[in-house]
Amino acid sequence: MTRKGRRLTLIASMLAVLGVAAGLVLFAMRDSIVFFYGPSELAEKALSPGTRLRIGGLVKDGSVVRGENKSISFVITDSNKEVRVAYVGQVPDLFREGQGVVAEGVLVGPGQFRADSVLAKHDEKYMPREVADALKKQGVWNDGAPAPAASK
């Protein structure tokens, strides 16, 4: 095969593979991307129930209710709006009232959320970044204000 022929084969196969990859990426982007909102943003957006989301904020003090069979319910707040989250399963070690949390799951109704995973922060030093940002938007948090988050 000539150099030109070889080059054409190469380019054709390259385009084919890249085309397939681009198709896969676009397809997957449509179905498996999850948006993140804080409680206030969530209230503004008025999304339809069934939307898959990640929400984050602080676990409201005194809001945690543990039920039968590891079911747990708590309120995520940014001190402006609140979302009640229902979850069945184990919550992470660092899940506590008054601390940052991120929940991924499905919106059930206005202010009602059913989570299928709950994440807390990795260590006591800082908030999940999304949560910190969402709280900053509400003016509840600024860098260095809460004592545990400021140890730098």
Partner: protein
């Protein structure tokens, strides 16, 4: 005092790095051999100074010198010795110091092992390496200095993040950095080749061992990180498609591609420009990984602290090196003459396909990792791209790689016989189908798992078909076959083992579909059926550790009434940080594992637990060990030994002169 010596050594190292990054290049420019010759001793000295600095920081950790801010924030006098040592890099500043230490180590190794290299190439390589070193030394000294003192030292430190107090911290970061940063040297080689405007098969011979070395360490580092996450995070997962994991996977994919094109270049003098590009790409992705992990743009256990100045600094380094090297590439690559011609169906053709697929896989991971960051910085929308995205994109692109892998091994250079190769693979195909039938009949379960183990079996058998064909010809006795096997080039064995390793890992991944998962409340005396085993819960006890308190729920694992293992899942509480952690109880039975992790204790004294039976799960990591073993075998191949290039070159180079 020792601390100040360490600090000063770091500053001196920066000065030397700056010398090393300019003087040899000036020498190359002017053709001045004396200037070029400065590169080697300076590279070694630079490494020794950084090593001294690292030793000083380690010393501060060992004696718990709480006048050092870094030690206060990350250590505790009651911490076990091993974590005092590994705690040195269990924080941002220390891990960056380890980063430059390894960078300088590779520079020094090249300086010592490059006697066979043309003097200008060696000088330019070490100079480029020093550019990278100088940039990161600046970064450490200006934004992340581990030697900062406190005016009023506290009596006790704040302890290391308990999640990091694990043997994994002693192993995972050094291995990963040896891999990550190891690609710096191939980057430097590539930039040097562009600067010198000369590249040939002997260049590939110099570069390949370093690529292999970095690749082996990166493979082990990723595998170790995955196993660590698996046993420490307590939910039994081993790969989360977390941006930080992706950051290490991308250089691995590019590095794997580079490994294969370097072989083409060495043997056939082809694909030169592409090889150079991959060498730049692999290290660029390592730098990107460093940026993602160290800048605090991501929330992760790896991101120790958020400081915007650091992020901007690393971003600047990133832009400078990636932009600079690509500009150099655009400017000089056209000077490199293209080499040998080959037919599409040939070993070269197969390796081109391998590269095409690997880099495309890498690109999808890149898109999935960076798209959320790009979207957020442009629109403020926060999204997460999780496992479903990567499974949908990476999976379908990686399957063809695995299918054609054994085929490629069997094609001849220049022009291959596709039909013949396919015929020789019939055995592997048959084994694959047989495995699918056996597992389908015995276990049933998800179709993907059955397809997965079938491909895995095909790949493992297919990887060795080529070697088998070279050993066992008609009429060869067993003794003859063994001596033939010993006589085969080690790199042939290396390829077979590394490829089979991918099959073995795939088998472990596919078998997760047959796992059993239970969430239960347990109390002493409970009997729980878990897959083929029964678990009997013993008395829940409190056991104090050196710097934590533990609640342990020992369990017996029984098979048909016989105790085959015990597991001791525990909850730990670290008072220094007021932080609980979960210690999974794991028992390896055959190739599978029983995995128990505890969550909270209920008011009545019972515990909530996650219990898993994971058949064949150890194969995931055994496969990666096989890949590394394959890399090691190739590295030990006579042809690739560092320094051999000179002996081989002397007669061969004659006609070319």
């Amino acid at each position: 005092m020792i601390t100040e010596i360490g600090h000063y050594a770091l500053v001196l190292a920066l000065a030397l790095a700056m010398v090393q990054s300019t003087a040899p290049l000036w020498g190359v420019w002017r053709g001045d051999v004396a200037l070029m010759a400065t590169a080697r001793p300076v590279a070694v000295a630079q490494f020794l100074l950084i090593a001294l600095s690292f030793a000083a920081l380690t010393h501060a950790y060992l004696i718990s010198d709480f006048s050092l801010l870094n030690v206060v924030e990350n250590s505790h006098s009651a911490k076990p010795l091993i974590y005092k040592i590994s705690g040195v890099w269990g924080n941002h500043e220390g891990s960056m110091l380890l980063w430059v230490l390894i960078l300088a180590l590779f520079g020094a190794l090249v300086a010592l092992g490059s006697r066979a290299m043309p003097v200008d190439l060696a000088a330019a390589t070490l100079a480029v390496q020093a550019w990278v070193g100088a940039a990161f030394l600046f970064f450490i000294l200006l934004t992340s200095n581990p030697f900062l003192r406190l005016a009023q030292p506290p009596i006790e430190g704040r302890d290391l993040n308990p999640i990091l107090q694990d043997l994994g911290l002693a192993i995972h970061p050094p291995l990963l950095y040896l891999g990550y940063v190891g690609f710096s040297i191939t980057f430097s080689f590539a930039a040097a080749a562009l600067i010198c405007g000369r590249i040939d098969a002997s260049w590939a011979r110099f570069v390949r061992p370093w690529t292999l070395l970095a690749w082996i360490f990166l493979t082990l580092g990723i595998a170790m990180g995955s196993y660590w996450a698996y046993y420490t995070l307590g939910w039994g997962g081993f790969w989360f498609w977390d941006p930080v994991e992706n950051a290490s996977l991308m250089p691995w994919l590019a590095g794997t591609a580079l490994l294969h094109t370097a072989a083409v270049m060495e043997k056939r003098d082809a694909l030169k420009i592409w090889t150079i590009f991959l060498a730049i790409l692999a290290f660029s992705l390592s730098l990107l990984g460093t940026f993602l992990v160290r800048s605090g743009v991501l929330t992760s256990v790896h991101a120790f602290a958020n400081d915007p100045a650091r992020g901007v600094f690393i971003l600047a380094i990133l832009v400078f090196f990636i932009g600079g090297s690509l500009a150099l590439f655009a400017w000089r690559a056209s000077r490199l003459r293209q080499g040998g011609i080959f037919a599409p169906v040939s070993r070269e053709g197969a390796l081109v396909l391998n590269n095409l697929l690997l880099t495309t896989c890498c690109a999808t991971v890149f898109v999935g990792t960076l798209y959320p960051l790009a979207l957020e910085s442009m629109t403020g929308e926060k999204i997460s791209v999780g496992a479903p995205f990567f499974n949908l994109t990476f999976g379908p692109l990686f399957v063809p790689i695995m299918l054609v892998m054994p085929l490629g091994q069997m094609l001849a250079w220049k022009r291959g016989d596709l039909l013949g190769a396919a015929q020789r693979l019939m055995v592997a195909l048959a084994v694959g189908f047989a495995v699918a039938l056996i597992f389908g009949a015995l276990r049933g379960g998800p179709v993907l798992s059955i397809v997965g183990v079938a491909i895995a079996a095909y790949l493992v058998v297919g990887s060795f078909v080529e070697v088998y064909g070279r050993i066992a010809a008609r009429g060869v006795t067993l003794g003859g076959a063994i001596s033939r096997a010993m006589g085969l080039p080690r790199s042939a064995w290396g390829t077979a083992f590394a490829h089979a390793g991918i099959g073995v890992t795939l088998f472990g991944l596919a078998a997760t579909g047959w796992g059993v998962e239970l969430v239960q409340t347990i109390k002493p005396g409970d009997q729980i059926a878990l897959g083929p085993y029964q678990l009997v819960v013993g008395d829940i006890v409190k056991r104090p550790g050196s710097n934590f308190d533990a609640t342990v729920a020992p369990m017996e694992v029984r098979s048909g009434g016989v105790v085959v293992a015990t597991v001791n899942p525990a909850k730990r509480f670290y008072p220094a940080r007021q932080m609980p952690t979960t210690e999974a109880g794991i028992a390896t039975l055959g190739l599978g594992q029983v995995y128990v992790s505890l969550s909270q204790q209920n008011p009545d004294g019972s515990l909530d637990a996650n219990l898993y039976w994971k058949p064949f799960v150890t194969l995931i990591w055994i496969g990666t060990l096989l890949m590394a073993l394959g890399g090691g075998l190739s590295l030990s191949d006579r042809r690739l030994r560092i320094g051999v290039a000179r002996r081989a070159r002397t007669p061969a180079a004659q006609p070319a002169e």
